[in-house]
Amino acid sequence: MDPQPMTQQAQSMSAYAMWVAEMARALAVDDESAFNSALNGFDAVRDTRVLTEVRKVTFDLQQALERFSRDSRLAELAHHQVPDARARLAHVLRLTDDAAHRTMDLIEQCIPLVDEQVRAKLNDVLLAQEYQDLSGQIVRSVMQLIDELEVALQDLLRIAGSQSDAPPARGNAGPAPLAGPAIPGLDNGNALSGQQDVDALLSTLGM
């Protein structure tokens, strides 16, 4: 533990003790003006302690804000990764929506061709597509959370006086994370846009 605050605390405790003793003395001799001045002395010690604490908190906050504005990782989060996360989730919504509709297209095509028993099963498959609604609602609520996070991060960066109104250069540390499925509207780097492109590339490589 840092010994400095303890010393400070010990100092103010002894000052408190002195003023309390003085108040007791003034009470014993019924000296109102001495009591009041001792009370003022007591308050002054307390005010000094509060001020010291406020200064310390202010200093810590300033340090934290300076560290924050220097930390490009946070600016990177606010400018790139948080908006990316939202775009990725929006894409998940589209993928599951498309897949569920595709499944239902096929079910609707099959239903006239099959007997009653199979039809009942196909209706179960149809109903199972409600996962898209249920998971989609959850994804949307996470997207709302991301919106709030983005606003908060950008506010914090602004308060910290970050010079990075111009977004910082991307990815300066560690290996690049795996990109996963390509997401429309995001910078996919050199991702290919479909199987044909993949086949064409493989062909130029002699496969």
């Binding site: 239902m104 079910i107 209706n123 149809l126 109903l127 898209q132 609604d133 249920l134």
Partner: protein
């Protein structure tokens, strides 16, 4: 019997529409939230409303209240089909005059049972 199905997820609207068709209800119209649904209800000739709760724009509870507040629509059977499963929400919907409440995920049997029950107890049924 003309149904209006209100849900912001097209997947869910399509599921409900298919299930209704399978139950023999061929006339099913879709809307994606309360703001779209309300004018359709006021102009159209609907007999039954199935609505989600959590939708952007006008949510299902507000739609229900608007329907109950409109003298021409006030008696319309309304079934809420929603993932909102908190007790106080269900109570709130009941107080607003909902006729049935089905929680997602749901089954075709439950949907049929609730619709049948609402239609059986409807005035003039």
């Amino acid at each position: 019997m003309n149904f209006l199905v209100v849900d912001d997820f097209s997947t869910m609207r399509r599921i409900i529409k298919n299930l209704l068709n399978d139950l023999g209800y061929a006339n099913v119209t879709e809307a994606d939230d309360g703001n779209t649904a309300l004018p359709m209800l006021k102009q159209g000739n609907f007999d039954f409303l199935i609505t989600d709760w959590n939708m952007p724009g006008m949510p299902g509870l507000e739609l229900l209240k608007q329907v109950r507040a409109d003298s021409r629509l006030a008696k319309m059977p309304v079934l809420m089909l929603t993932a909102e499963a908190k007790r106080e929400q269900i109570v709130e919907a009941a107080q607003a005059g909902v006729n049935g409440y089905v929680i997602k995920p749901f089954t075709a049997a439950v949907l049929k049972e609730k619709i049948d029950k609402i239609l059986a107890t409807r005035p003039g049924a």
